[in-house]
């Protein structure tokens, strides 16, 4: 069985929001309808987004680290938002595991957004239906696009390659290898939702060097470097030259 998902590498994400704007650009022009905004150029702009980048500061000054944290629908393998939908508008595709909303069936009751612990669903304030990341389902299967472009818009936009896309059920896929070898983890594992999207943690590369590797204990040059020192009772050069 296929489960398409994103793997987000927090180690290389620089928080540039390119995935956010690229997602909005692609999906607002899509066949499923626009993603509406309120006051886009006004004082308090707000609108519908499938993907948002948040920033967290870890630790206390001066030992702090900034983590940029992109979050979209995690396409859970056991999605709590799907069974609660009264109309069946919210569903998980059997063939590739993408969780989608049928905008023609959604009654806008917001119950699915209550049932998502990640806050991944947002109601469109003008179209009055629930919206969420589609994993660019209208793009990844599009035969008209060259094969390298059959990926979600956010993945293509990422300048640091922090977003990987693939089948997490295929053990040899790029995403599975990354999860396995680089410590990929899921968000809020305590609720048993089994999110398909994984995150790769911040990783530090450290070289372990002992002091004697930097400075040889038996270095013969050390002997030659011994500087002549006057005895304690002998006058130093300073004593001689100061009047």
């Amino acid at each position: 069985m296929t489960q398409l998902a994103l793997v987000i590498d927090l180690n290389v994400c620089v928080g540039c929001h390119a995935c956010v704007t690229s997602c909005k650009e692609w999906n607002t022009s899509g066949t499923a309808g626009y993603m509406s905004d309120c006051n886009p150029y006004g004082k308090d702009p707000t609108g519908t987004f499938f993907n948002r980048v948040q920033t967290f500061e870890i630790g206390t000054f001066p030992n702090t680290e900034t983590v940029h944290f992109p979050k979209s629908c995690l396409h859970c393998e056991d999605p709590p938002c799907v069974p609660v939908c009264p109309t069946g508008a919210s569903y998980k595709r059997a063939e590739d595991g993408i969780v989608l909303v049928d905008y023609d069936k959604c009654i806008g009751c917001k119950y699915c957004s209550w049932a998502c612990p990640y806050g991944a669903r947002e109601i469109d304030e003008h179209l009055k239906v629930m919206k969420k990341c589609t994993l660019c389902v209208d793009r990844i299967y599009d035969q008209a696009l060259p094969e390298t472009e059959r990926k979600p818009a956010c993945v293509l936009a990422c300048p640091t390659n922090a977003r990987l896309f693939g089948d997490v059920h295929d053990p040899e896929s790029q995403v599975s290898v990354n999860i396995r070898e680089n410590g990929g983890y899921q968000l809020m594992p305590e609720w048993g939702t089994k999110p398909a999207n994984h995150y790769l943690p911040r990783r530090k590369t450290r070289i372990k060097i002992h002091e004697d590797e930097l400075e040889r204990v038996d270095n013969p040059q050390k002997k030659e470097r011994q500087q002549p020192k006057p005895g304690f009772d002998e006058p130093t050069l300073d004593d001689v030259t100061s009047w």
């Binding site: 928080g15 956010v20 309120c38 006051n39 004082k43 308090d44 702009p45 707000t46 609108g47 519908t48 987004f49 948002r52 980048v53 948040q54 920033t55 967290f56 500061e57 870890i58 630790g59 900034t66 944290f69 979050k71 709590p80 069974p83 609660v84 939908c85 009264p86 109309t87 069946g88 508008a89 069936k105 959604c106 009654i107 806008g108 009751c109 917001k110 119950y111 957004s113 209550w114 049932a115 998502c116 612990p117 990640y118 806050g119 947002e122 109601i123 304030e125 179209l127 009055k128 239906v129 983890y185 899921q186 968000l187 809020m188 594992p189 305590e190 609720w191 995150y199 943690p201 911040r202």
Partner: protein, 325 residues
């Protein structure tokens, strides 16, 4: 959570409607086994009483449409009754209203043919339909409560106490209204209904207090650390991904101070429990409609506050991603 007034009115109004019917049918059943005297004018009492209950249920149904983005597609909500408690509620509410309407009509028209004898009880169509409507009323209470209780990560709601409280608070307000209603149409039943109203209200106080105590001691499973997967005791959010707010900052926060929340708690604890009990005891001794009606109004206003608090108190785990509201 952000308390939506559509849902507050829906749950409180249908609670009154269900409680009112349960009170009417309790009186009907008791008089069928001769525990309480038969009403002087059962046709008007049960017929008008059922109509009143239908008005409350209809009001609740109307309020629910204001919660929907697309009310014209509301009929689709019956589709997923196998998995969704909301879908089950959407089916249970009209089913109960239908049974209630038939019950009220049978009573109002005075259609009392004896279908069969159950010992000394003469079973009339009203009793059969009333029993069915009683089952549906409880099914509706369970559906309404489970909508909230089934979301396991909303830990303030995920307890059987949620269903118990919806049932008892709805019944209490319905019985109190019936007491006032009986003061006009069946004065001989005022003491009977008044006593039941006080008993149910006191029971509801125990279960609601139990849920308040439970929620005060609750330990949330999700933390900022599990939300973003970074193990450090000090994690501070610096940016939420949007400057002008988003659906996530509007839907999941009540936007009021802790002091406001606390005052609402004491307001509802006063208005729902001791105030109506006091007014009921006063009204029972004199069987005064005005005092009994005031008891219901006070309790209903208290229930609006109670429901507001119920929503505001629930802390959604998604709020961990929005800490700088």
């Amino acid at each position: 959570m952000h308390p939506a007034f559509s849902v507050i009115f829906l749950t409180t109004l249908i609670g009154v409607g269900q409680g009112l019917f349960l009170a009417l049918f309790t009186g009907h059943l008791y008089s069928a086994v001769n525990v309480v005297p038969m009403q002087a004018d059962p046709q008007t009492f049960y017929g008008l009483g059922s109509l009143l209950a239908l008005l409350f249920l209809g009001g609740g149904l109307l309020a629910s449409f204001f919660h929907l983005g697309h009310p014209e597609r509301g009929w689709r909500a019956i589709a997923r009754w196998r998995t969704s408690w909301l879908s089950r509620e959407v089916i249970a509410l009209p089913a109960f209203m239908g049974a209630l309407a038939v019950y009220g009509l049978v009573q109002y028209l005075g259609w009392y043919p004896v279908l069969f004898n159950l010992g000394p009880i003469l079973v009339t169509p009203g009793l059969v339909i009333g029993a069915l409507a009683t089952v549906l009323a409880f099914v509706l209470f369970i559906c309404t409560g489970m909508i909230y209780a089934c979301i396991k990560f909303l830990q303030e709601w995920a307890t059987p106490l949620t269903v118990v409280n919806y049932t008892l608070l709805g019944s209490a307000s319905g019985f109190t209204l019936t007491t006032a209603f009986a003061a006009v149409y069946a004065p001989e039943l005022v003491r009977f209904y008044g006593a039941w109203s006080i008993i149910i209200t006191v029971f509801a106080l125990f279960t609601r207090a139990a849920s308040l105590i439970r929620n005060a001691r609750i330990k949330h499973k999700s933390t900022t650390q599990t939300a973003i997967g970074v193990r450090h005791t000090h994690v501070a959010q610096k940016a939420q991904g949007a400057m002008g707010g988003s659906f996530n900052t509007r839907e999941f926060f009540h936007g009021k101070s802790a002091g406001f929340l606390k005052s609402i708690k004491w307001i509802f604890l006063t208005l729902v429990f001791p105030a109506p009990v006091l007014l009921l005891s006063l009204g029972l001794s004199s069987a005064a409609f005005a005092i009994l009606a005031l008891a219901f109004i006070v309790q209903y206003l208290g229930l609006l506050a109670e429901r507001w608090f119920f929503f505001a108190q629930a802390n959604h785990p998604q709020n961990l991603y929005y800490q700088t509201i």
